[in-house]
């Protein structure tokens, strides 16, 4: 009896000091488990995984640039974010819906501590999204064909959006504790965030206030020239999410003076963080970046490194140097089909990009007039590959890139044969390289710089050559190389030399 009396008060006197915190964590654990098992969250997580797989399979033709991959991870987490927004809100309102608010009033956790626990419950699902982003980025980054560098700031945007959504749900539950408020507010937010950037316009400081900032251009530029304030933006998003969550805790009841002071201090810190990020991201592109963009566009040789593969030299921005070997394979294939001096000619393959407008706009690149110089761009794979081989072939046949825009005679057949004859599925490549995505009739042939024109007659001759295959055509090309590459040679003459049916009518370019 006496032992019981002496032991019992000792336990009760030590316990309350740390119980509220452990109770917050216990509630946060319970709520996060409950949140992860809600049907909308599970459904959206599944949709997110499906989105990652779909995006990864369809993107970049197997040749990713990591400075583009990081931005491509941003929109998917919004799916999960929306489910979190709804479900966190409903979790906070659960006690009201089930009318257990009065029962909770006698428990150890005051409302503000319960709000804090709800805020913490968002973290595990955010952790899952971090894993998703890491998987999506890592999937591309481990490819041996990947080039460039990702930015942590850009990668953090997706998970931070989930946190922000959860914080909005939390704050809404405390501000408007009505069940119908949150779905409606979610749609309003979504529509506003879709419509507002379109009317504000991209690139401005106001556009950076939205969580996910898209870009007007889909081209790839070297990572140091992108000039997006990614780190500032993730600071801004962190500050915003923390501010909303702390505000939700601060307007909940039951605070003591000390806790109010601590919370107000943290809120001030969060606002400061958001403001620092907001100011940083509003600064715009630095003058160094602008200068570097101009240099990279107009005098790329100043910043590029050159590598020799076989006969030819390949100059690329440092991030693309590993890819020069892939370009060299294509050049070698094209040269192996050529005849005369063209088979052994030394080429200079130079990478060029219009970077002066950053990611906001595109610009055409003027074809080079230097003999034996070929332009290669920053993207590769899919249609980009035959476009490059068409440029190599045109330089081999015509001498320089500029002449490709004016060629209208039978030499176009030779160019297209050199460009496509070595590929495993030349007809598909022919379709890919033509602007109209057809294999009949006349069309523009795309190339890294200006396009070339193919008439309907040339198209049919090229198609017949591709059907005949390199074993029959290559010896004839090598034997008649001088005639095939002579200026003003007609398509009919070329067809006759290569032993295929000649088209009716003279060469006429539109």
């Amino acid at each position: 009896m006496s032992t019981v009396l002496t032991e019992a008060p000792a336990e009760t006197s030590t316990a309350p000091a740390r119980e509220p915190w452990s109770a917050i964590f216990a509630l946060a654990r319970f709520e996060s488990r409950k949140l992860l098992l809600r049907i909308p969250v599970l459904f959206m997580l599944a949709a997110y995984v499906a989105w990652i797989v779909w995006r990864t399979k369809s993107g970049w033709y197997g040749y990713p640039a990591l400075q583009d991959v990081d931005r491509a991870t941003q929109t998917g987490p919004l799916l999960v974010g929306f489910a979190v927004l709804l479900c966190v809100n409903q979790a906070v309102l659960r006690s009201q819906r089930h009318d257990t608010e009065r029962l909770f009033g006698v428990l150890v956790l005051e409302p503000w501590r319960r709000t804090a626990a709800h805020a913490l419950s968002i973290l595990p699902v955010t952790g899952l999204v971090v894993l998703g982003v890491a998987a999506q980025f890592g999937w591309q980054a481990v490819k041996s064909t990947a080039v460039g560098h990702g930015s942590v700031g850009e990668l953090l945007v997706g998970p931070l959006c989930v946190l922000l959504c959860g914080a909005i749900g939390l704050l809404m539950a405390r501000l408007v504790p009505k069940p119908f408020a949150i779905p409606v507010a979610a749609v309003l937010l979504l529509v506003f965030s879709v419509l507002a950037p379109a009317s504000i316009g991209g690139g401005s400081a106001t556009a950076w206030l939205t969580p996910i900032v898209g870009e007007g251009s889909t081209k790839t530029i070297p990572s140091e020239l992108i000039g997006r304030p990614a780190v500032s933006h993730s600071l801004y998003l962190t500050g915003l999410a923390l501010t909303l969550a702390l505000l939700a805790v601060l307007i909940s009841k039951g605070r003591t003076k000390t806790s109010t002071a601590v919370l107000a201090g943290s809120l001030a810190g969060a606002i400061a963080l958001g403001v620092v990020g907001g100011v940083g991201q509003a600064a715009g592109v630095s003058s160094e970046t602008v200068a570097a963009r101009t240099v990279a566009t107009l005098n790329p040789q100043k910043v590029q490194s050159c590598v020799r593969h076989g006969r030819s030299t390949y100059c690329a921005f440092p991030e693309w140097v590993p890819r020069t070997a892939t370009w060299a394979e294509v050049t070698d294939h094209v040269q192996s089909l050529a005849g005369g001096t063209a088979q052994t000619r030394k080429l200079l393959v130079q990478q060029r990009v219009e970077a002066r407008y950053g990611m906001e706009g595109d610009g055409a690149i003027e074809p080079s007039t230097t003999p034996n110089q070929v332009t290669v761009r920053t993207m590769w794979g899919g249609p980009r590959t035959p476009e490059f081989s068409a440029a190599v072939a045109s330089v081999l046949v015509l001498g320089n890139e500029k002449a490709g825009g004016d060629v209208c005679d039978g030499r176009m057949v030779t160019i297209m044969w050199l460009a496509l004859g070595w590929t495993s599925d030349p007809v598909t490549e022919l379709r890919a390289v033509r602007l109209s995505d057809t294999v009949t009739g006349s069309s523009i042939v795309l190339s890294p710089t200006n396009g070339m024109t193919m008439t309907a007659g040339q198209t049919s001759v090229v198609r017949e050559l591709l059907a005949a295959g390199p074993s029959t055509v290559t010896p004839k090309v090598k034997a008649h190389w001088a005639e095939l590459t002579a200026p003003k040679v007609t398509t009919a003459k070329v067809a006759q030399l290569l032993g295929v049916k000649a088209p009716g009518g003279a060469d006429k370019c539109e």
């Binding site: 909308p40 459904f43 929306f82 709804l86 409903q90 119908f180 409606v184 529509v191 879709v194 009317s199």
Partner: protein
């Protein structure tokens, strides 16, 4: 006691006619409707429909289409709460069938919904307004689908107020379906695309299907069962 038995004698042994029950039910049902929630939802939906005007001096057709669709979705989300009945544990045992009560609720909301939709359509400048008939079909399909989902939730769970869960699920589906449905189905295309016509055949099918689900989920379940353990 005596007064109650007197009333029973007055009414006779015959149960009162449906029309009379409906007339008597109108006022209590009107009082039980989540009027404030519906009004708030409708107001926000009108705000969404006005966004193209508010955000830009020269709004384009694309923003008008998005705003009108989002407004219809918002109102449909509000409709998910129409069948909520906090007193369900009591009302489930009254002799008046549930389908009668829920139909009455919807009938009372319908004129309001029609007036709201007219206002939403008028908020879109006439120059950029998508075809009104087709958009009305979409809005009606969304609205009935939401009501059917709420009816299904009542039919298959014992929850008195399933509106919140229904709205969350409905919103999640509405967000994912434009990404997941094949473009050929044409349900979320713009009027300039050729799938617009096919898409509205599909919207009509959704509407018919939703009405069927609504009707099938009308009766009160005889036995309570729980699909989702809480």
């Amino acid at each position: 006691m005596t007064r109650e038995s007197g009333e029973t004698e007055q009414a006779g042994v015959q149960p009162p006619s449906t029309a009379r029950v409906l007339a008597q039910l109108t006022r209590p049902v009107l009082r039980a409707l989540p009027v404030r929630g519906l009004a708030a939802t409708a107001a926000v939906a009108l705000l969404i429909a006005a966004l193209p005007r508010l955000l830009s001096d020269e709004p384009d057709q694309w923003s008008a289409l998005i705003a009108l669709r989002a407004a219809a979705l918002t109102f449909a989300l509000g409709l998910a709460f129409v069948l909520d009945d906090p007193a369900r544990d009591l009302t489930s045992s009254v002799p008046t069938r549930r389908i009668l009560r829920t139909t009455l609720r919807v009938a009372l909301v319908a004129p309001f919904a029609a007036a709201w939709w007219t206002a939403a359509v008028l908020l879109i400048p006439s120059k950029i307004r998508p075809p009104v008939g087709d958009m009305t079909l979409e809005a009606a399909a969304a609205a009935v689908l939401s009501l059917a989902a709420a009816a299904a939730a009542l039919r298959f769970t014992a929850e008195p107020e399933p509106g919140q869960r229904v709205a969350a699920g409905f919103l999640v589906i509405a967000l994912v379906s434009p990404l997941a449905l094949p473009n050929d189905w044409g349900m979320y295309v713009s009027p300039t695309e050729k799938q617009w016509g096919v898409g509205h055949d599909h919207w009509a099918m959704v509407l018919v299907g939703a009405v069927a689900v609504w009707a099938a989920c009308g009766p009160e379940p005889v036995r309570r069962r729980r699909l989702i353990p809480t």
